[in-house]
């Protein structure tokens, strides 16, 4: 009788070839939220359990970058930094940038990396790139502590604008996710996508105001500049934390729109091709 009850409570599952538009499956995704947590938790645990200094390595890169950029761009090239100490100026951008770049890279690889699971058991596949994106918040949080340390060192008092911080962090993650949804799915079929991503993030960084202030970009081009969602994120993040130059809100608006479009398209694309994952991996 037990099973009769189970049957009544859960609707019949129909397995058949899907054609055309595929729904996002919010319900299923929501039901699998614990799996998202477990996947992230597993990654963290295995990463930091193996190398006690795992977190140390994660910080090494942004710190070293900051050091080098300070030397090259501030000391040698004399790039302006909106009147901020250049190390602070650079690190406040490298931090969200690293969050974005790592998320993008890891998430792009995620579907192929989790191929073993995909071939063996069903669960909402969207969970995989989502987990691979959000897990980077941990490294980011540690980096943020260092940034706060730097602010104390430079005796910099954050202003009320810091309440916007989560907004820009969120947009950075969503930007990474919106792009990696496309790339992670493509990477299943075309394995060289993975090798394009580091190149892409590198070029993308120079197209974002990480090393230089957005104020260097001519006013007339700002609108186009906003097409790069990370431009708004980096500027916004810097503003929220250091509160010097307010971001160009038109630019941020354009950025948000671009992310929204990429994200919707990405989810639809991913859902459409996910049915072939198990056969191709």
């Amino acid at each position: 009788m037990e099973s009769a009850i189970a049957q009544e409570s859960s609707p019949a599952l129909v397995i058949e070839p899907r054609t055309g538009y595929v729904q996002v499956g919010w319900r299923e995704l929501w039901a699998a939220r614990e799996l998202l947590y477990f996947l992230a938790w597993r990654d963290l645990k295995t990463r930091y359990a193996q190398t006690a200094i795992g977190a140390g390595w994660a910080l090494m890169q942004p710190l070293l970058s900051t050091l080098i950029f300070t030397l090259v761009f501030s000391y040698l090239a004399k790039v302006p930094s909106d009147g901020l100490p250049y190390p602070l100026f650079a690190f406040a951008a490298i931090l969200p940038w690293t969050l974005f770049a790592r998320s993008l890279e890891r998430s792009t690889l995620s579907v192929v990396t989790e191929g073993g699971l995909i071939k063996k058991v069903y669960f909402p596949r969207l969970i995989i790139p989502i987990a691979a994106t959000f897990i980077n918040l941990v490294d980011f949080a540690i980096g943020l502590l260092i940034l706060i340390g730097m602010m104390v060192w430079y005796q910099f008092v954050p202003q009320w604008t810091f309440i916007f911080l989560p907004l820009f962090v969120g947009v950075a993650l969503l930007t990474a996710l919106s792009v990696s949804l496309w790339l992670s799915a493509l990477n299943v079929k075309y394995r060289d996508v993975a090798s394009v991503v580091p190149l892409m993030t590198q070029l993308w960084m120079f197209a974002s105001p990480v090393l230089y202030p957005a104020s260097l970009v001519p006013e007339s081009l700002r609108w186009y500049y906003g097409l790069n969602p990370m431009a708004g994120v980096i500027e916004g993040f810097r503003w929220a934390l250091l509160g010097k130059t307010a971001p160009d809100w038109t630019m941020v608006g354009v950025s948000l729109l671009v992310v929204a479009l990429l994200l919707i398209g990405g989810v639809m694309f991913f859902r459409r091709v996910e049915r072939t994952f198990a056969d191709l991996i």
Partner: protein, 427 residues
């Protein structure tokens, strides 16, 4: 409300073969092709061919039924499982599943070697769709069933294969799904745990749950399942009561320890030589389709030489269940080497030593040839078949390891050790 748990209608799955060229699998390749097409060049002819891994499969499983799926490797069993567990999508047809369903193609899926047994129970449970609270509730039961209590906080990379499989199965078995799919689970783990799993499965069946059991283990299928289907090349060859389907599988040319041609007119052969029987026997001469891996196996061919004067060489080709040619054996009986055979009936026996073949199904093709000049007179492909089993007593090549053991042959080699205690000390 119907009492149907699973209903499958017209399920087919097509795989594209030959599409996986390095060029096709790279973005660069795809872009180049795209550009060429834009440039007006026609793309190179596609070398794609297709394979129907599953073709028009239909069946229905009632609530509480234990249903068996059997067939040789490559018959479409795993494809069927993959579709039912939603890992891959069918090309056509549909399956309707009523009730909480648990599909898992491999025990221990989602286990991470670096994580402890405890962590992995939660991880694996979450992947299977259990809530954290639910896993926590059943945790002690899961660990007790798997008998890994002392090691539950040890990373599973230190587990023996048996412990690993036991823990994996235990998570699966405690999910309390209305429908449970089990694939070859009983083939791994030690004999005692296999029995325990069987017990659990029977238990599950009695509680009104539906089980789909996929296995090579025919006795298990007969004992546990009420009904079964037999797949061959993606199609359902037979469906019905489990024992009937198993019998069909064992005797309809798939695996049988002997084949005889009592009527010389029907016997394979030509005007000079005719086969009359092919058999497989134990050392003691008993005909059987199951062999102990440690014991010798005698392959036997009975044939008539109708026209005298030729140097006939009986030949056996042995294939394993993945259709790999394990060996070719030409008759080298010194008594008949280079000796023209007079007419009459011959029985030639080739002995395969114990501890040579791997576990699994074997099939034997029987051939009759003359070597100089070379001529193949008779060829009966897959004339007979048998199964090699390892009882796991510990004195075969397996020793006390009970996990998966690939390899075409499994000889028990002669090992020697030279030990020098003074050397190799820590510095």
């Amino acid at each position: 409300m119907s009492d149907t748990a699973v209903s499958v209608t017209g399920l087919s799955k097509r795989y594209r073969l030959g599409a996986i060229h390095a060029q096709d699998a790279s973005l660069a390749g795809a872009l180049t092709r795209g550009l060429r097409r834009l440039g007006g060049q026609r793309p190179a002819a596609s070398t794609q061919s297709t394979l129907w891994a599953l073709r028009d499969v239909s069946f229905e499983i009632k609530q509480g039924e234990v249903f068996g799926v059997i067939g040789t490797n490559g018959s479409g069993k795993s494809t069927l499982l993959k579709i039912l567990s939603r890992v891959t999508e069918p090309t056509t047809g549909r399956a309707v599943i009523h009730g909480r369903f648990c599909g898992l193609l491999e025990v221990g899926t989602g286990f991470h070697p670096e994580l402890t047994g405890r962590d992995n129970v939660f991880m694996s449970g979450a992947i299977l769709g259990m809530k954290r609270q639910e896993i926590a509730q059943k945790f002690d039961e899961i660990v007790a069933f798997a008998e890994v209590e002392q090691f539950i906080d040890t990373p599973v990379k230190h587990y023996s294969s048996g412990m690993y499989v036991r823990l994996g199965f235990s998570v699966l078995a405690h999910m309390d799904p209305a429908i449970l799919i089990v694939d070859e689970v009983l083939a791994v783990g030690d004999v005692r745990f296999q029995k325990k799993c069987m017990g659990k499965m029977e238990d599950v069946g009695k509680h009104g749950r539906t089980v789909i059991l996929v296995s090579h283990d025919m006795p298990a299928i007969t004992r546990l399942c009420s009904r079964a289907i037999l797949l061959n090349k993606g199609e359902v060859v037979q469906a019905g009561p489990a024992h009937e389907v198993v019998n069909h599988y064992l005797h309809a040319g798939h695996i049988q320890p002997s084949v005889e041609w009592p009527d010389p007119g029907q016997a394979p052969g030509n005007e000079v030589v005719r086969l009359r029987a092919v058999r497989v026997r134990t050392e003691a001469g008993v005909m059987t389709d199951r062999f102990d891996i440690r014991k010798p196996i005698d392959l036997e061919v009975e044939f008539d030489v109708v026209k005298a004067g030729r140097i006939f060489v009986p030949v056996f080709n042995l294939y394993n269940d993945e259709d790999v040619l394990v060996f070719i054996a030409h008759d080298r009986d010194p008594a008949w080497q280079r000796t023209p055979r007079p007419t009459g009936r011959y029985i030639s026996t080739a002995r395969i030593p114990g501890n040579l073949l791997s576990e699994g199904m074997m099939s034997v093709s029987s051939l009759m040839m003359t070597e100089t000049p070379f001529r193949l007179h008779v060829h009966v492909p897959r004339a007979i078949g048998f199964r090699v089993d390892d009882s796991g007593d510990g004195d075969s090549a397996r020793g006390d390891y009970h996990g998966r053991w690939p390899g075409v042959v499994r000889p028990l080699l002669e090992w020697r050790t030279r030990y020098t205690p003074e050397q190799g000390q820590a510095v």
